[in-house]
């Protein structure tokens, strides 16, 4: 040790705690006491719940429960709808009007399962009206299955089923549905149903509204994103339907998406206030360019076309369109109703209405009464043809049997002759005879067939 004196003092046992240490201990005790008192006060004093919420990171909210349950604050400028809604967690309200739709539900749910837009951001709204089949029961069953799915990505957001009967007098079968006379009142009733569904389910947190018919057969899984990317106020794809081969394989289905034409405007001026122009009927020749007819199977699916009337099979619209009052007129609005009137009204309010001519979804093919008749006829013809062929075959067999003896006789004779010929060391002569013989039998059969045809 270099300094023994210092060392000696360092290792001396302390007689008492130094003054500084004592002071510090006291301070710590006082601080702890204050902290405990403050904490205690927090729990005891009323109206200081915020202390607790700070410490518990807001997990224990005490007095604001009443407010939380009953008061809501929404800033509508946060739900405008953008081109990449799935990244900004924008909610979509998916509306499906249903009537006697039981047979189509399975198909619809397979589409719902496959949608790629995050399911928890989609609220489903169904309107079940005037249904005589088990639409409602099947719908509930399927929805419950969907919500209980093992895949955590399957369940949807809020699901509402609205039941309302409008006392529909119009039949839903294909013929009466598409007959010209029934169109105006049918469209007005459809419009009413759509408005009821929307007004009961649209909420301030929805950014988009998607209308989808239940009877869409084929559609891209990414349809929501595909349509949203265009960032238009209202956008519709092209709707076609597949057809049996004898009808040409495919056909434009939705003729309600069109551009306005001068002819139609002039026509509209001549019509009565309550008249409704419907597309696709000879009664109103409007000469409008239809979205459906402009399809090119190899065209750019992102190509846009400005339209004035929209079809209702698949409409994606920003919720602000509906919020600002645009709806499906259940009256004659500028001589149009329902979805066509919706397009007209949206245009009137300055919104962009766009169709995608080369982006196609496929509507279910339901044969019309005429088609069914035609198909029945075809079926009959086919059966008749088959029967005829069968008869023919039988006849041939019979003939063969009847003439079988002669045939064998011929054969016998042939071989004898052949033998004779062989004996005479000539090969070809016998073969020729056989050929001409068989030719003869065929001819006679043909003649017989013709005779039969003439008889029948």
């Amino acid at each position: 040790m270099a300094n023994p004196a210092l060392g000696a003092s360092r290792f001396q046992p302390r007689a008492s705690t130094p003054a500084t240490r004592r002071r510090r201990k006291l301070l710590v005790r006082v601080a702890i006491a204050i902290a405990v008192a403050a904490l205690f006060a927090c729990f005891v004093w009323p109206g200081t719940g915020s202390f607790i919420s700070i410490f518990s990171l807001g997990l224990l909210s005490s007095d604001s429960d009443g407010l939380l349950d009953t008061v809501r604050y929404y800033d509508l400028s946060n739900v405008q709808g953008t081109a990449r809604g799935w990244e900004r967690e924008e909610r979509i309200l998916l509306c499906v009007p249903l009537r006697d739709a039981e047979p189509h539900l399975q198909m619809m749910f397979s589409h719902l399962r496959n949608l790629t837009y995050p399911h928890h951001l989609i609220d489903l709204a169904f309107l079940v009206s005037d249904s005589k089949d088990r639409t409602l029961d099947v719908l509930i069953e399927r929805l419950e299955d969907q919500q209980a799915d093992d895949d955590p990505k399957q369940p949807y957001g809020e699901i509402s089923i609205i039941e309302k009967d409008f006392g529909q007098k119009v039949n839903q079968d294909v013929e009466s549905r598409h007959g010209f006379a029934a169109q105006a009142s049918r469209r007005k009733l459809m419009a009413q149903a759509r408005n009821w569904l929307l007004s009961a389910t649209l909420r301030p947190y929805h950014s988009w509204v998607y209308w989808r018919d239940v009877d869409v057969e084929t559609a891209p899984f990414t349809i929501l994103e595909d349509l949203m990317r265009h960032n238009k106020d209202i956008i519709v794809p092209n709707v076609w339907r597949p057809l049996p081969d004898w009808l040409g394989g495919e056909q434009p289905y939705d003729l309600n998406s069109w551009q306005e034409s001068e002819t139609a405007l002039t026509l509209a001026d001549t019509l009565d206030e309550d008249a409704v122009i419907v597309e696709g009927y000879a009664e109103y020749a409007t000469w409008r360019p239809h979205l459906a007819y402009l399809r090119d199977p190899y065209g750019d699916p992102d190509m846009e076309m400005e339209i004035d009337g929209v079809g209702g099979v698949s409409i994606l619209a920003k919720a602000k369109v509906f919020r600002s009052g645009c709806h499906f007129p259940a009256f004659s609005f500028e001589k149009h109703a329902e979805t066509e009137g919706f397009g007209k009204m949206a245009k009137r309010m300055g919104y962009s209405v766009v169709g995608l001519p080369h982006y196609v979804i496929w509507h279910l093919y339901e044969p019309s009464v005429d088609d069914i008749k035609h198909m029945e006829e075809m079926e009959k013809e086919r059966v008749a043809k088959e029967a005829e062929e069968k008869e023919k075959a039988e006849k041939e067999k019979k003939i063969k049997e009847q003439f079988g003896d002669t045939n064998s006789q011929w054969e016998k004779d042939k071989t004898e002759i052949q033998n004779l010929a062989k004996e005479e060391s000539k090969k070809e002569a016998g073969g020729d005879a056989g050929k001409s013989d068989s030719q003869n039998t065929k001819d006679s059969n043909g003649a017989k067939d013709e005779a039969q045809k003439v008889e029948s």
């Binding site: 202390f51 939380l68 369940p155 419009a191 408005n195 649209l202 909420r203 919020r323 009052g325 004659s332």
Partner: protein
């Protein structure tokens, strides 16, 4: 002096530092909690209110049940209280008036059947109105009694049109279209996002209506009309200082032939407005109607245009699509256009000339 290698031993903490730390912490916590509750109560309310409905990814996998609503069972009758019919009171609000709120609280219709909906523009004045409104709502909704079933506050997603404070008549007429178009959009936004599946009646009540009979909802509903509008008056002090009242809302009227002729000559985007000298319509205004039964508050008149200061509408009418057109609809806009659209859908408006509500007097 050279130090041997090894971990640096920190200097002993000065007790003064500890004290300062504790004091600071106390202050921070104090101010945090204070700003949350006492000094700016509205901020906390809006934060709280916001926390639940806004979709967040952590809510992604909450499984929601299927909700069923049978709208066939929603009744709309003369006697709404007996049938427990839900009423939606909608108020587009530019400024908050305490008298409005007090009057609202006095309504004798059971509050647990009433949903309130407000829409407020996003400007300075609107922020002030929101703050004042939220303070009142917080007071009411925290109390155990007289609580409303639900309160929804919305902020407009579009800018209010440039508010020209110029009182010049000509200027006003030109501005009227933009102003009322924005008003229509605000009304529609509020209506279509708050109309629930179980709503039976919608009462439109402007933010500057400061006096109504407490039985307003029952009285109007008892007429069993699809659209019914009381007469809107304003109380003031006349030159001699005596209290008097004068007609305020001129949007409730019966159409005239002159007005029809004027409309026929107009372009599709022109408006036929009421109360402007440039457009003499000679419509019969409910505000000045002289009835034989002067004192009967139940006297009814059919109307072609309605005002929106106070207006009771069957929910059906709105559900069918009757809205406040933000564009000229048959040369009419907003509430007047609404009456026309409802008529096109088969619903007739009715006025009560002797049943009065009172507008705030500036």
């Amino acid at each position: 002096m050279a130090r041997p290698m090894g971990p640096v031993r920190l200097r002993r903490t000065n007790p003064v530092t500890v004290i300062i730390g504790i004091v600071l912490c106390t202050f921070i916590i104090y101010f945090l909690s204070n700003s949350g509750s006492a000094t700016r109560p509205t901020a906390s309310k809006s934060r709280n209110a916001n926390s639940k409905p806004v979709p967040k990814s952590n809510l992604a996998h909450i499984r929601r049940d299927v909700q069923r609503f049978n709208l066939n069972h929603v009744t709309i009758t003369k006697d709404p209280i007996a049938n427990h019919e839900a009423v939606l009171i909608l108020t587009p609000m530019a400024r908050f008036y305490q008298d409005y709120w007090d009057n609202l609280m006095k309504l004798s219709y059971p509050h647990e059947l009433i949903t309130l909906g407000f829409i407020i523009p996003k400007n300075k004045e609107g922020n002030a109105a929101t703050t004042a409104l939220q303070a009142q709502i917080a007071k009411t909704q925290k109390s155990a009694t007289n609580k409303f079933r639900r309160v929804i506050i919305e902020r407009q997603d579009f800018d209010p049109p440039l508010a020209s404070q110029d009182e010049s008549e000509r200027h006003k007429l030109e501005n009227q279209k933009a102003r009322r178009s924005a008003m229509s959009k605000a009304r529609n936004s509020l209506l279509f996002t708050t109309l629930g599946p179980d709503t039976s009646w919608v009462l439109w009540l402007d933010g500057d209506i400061v006096e109504t009979p407490p039985t307003l909802i029952q009285d109007l509903a008892s007429h069993d009309k699809p659209i019914i509008v009381p007469n809107c008056y304003q109380r003031y002090k006349d030159d001699s200082g005596k209290p008097a009242e004068r007609a305020y809302d001129f949007n409730s009227w019966q159409d005239s032939e002159t007005a029809q002729e004027l409309a026929a000559k107009m372009g599709p985007d022109d408006l036929l407005l009421e109360g402007y000298e440039a457009l003499p319509t000679y419509r019969t205004l409910m505000a000045y109607m002289e009835l034989d039964e002067k004192d009967d508050p139940r006297a009814e008149v059919p109307l072609d245009g309605v005002g929106g200061t106070a207006l009771l509408v069957r929910a059906d009418v709105h559900r069918d699509g009757a809205m406040f057109p933000p564009f000229p609809f048959y040369h009419l806009i907003e509430t007047e256009g609404f009456a026309k659209m409802a008529k096109r859908l088969g619903w007739q408006a009715t006025g009560l000339p002797n049943y009065k509500v009172y507008h705030y007097n500036e």
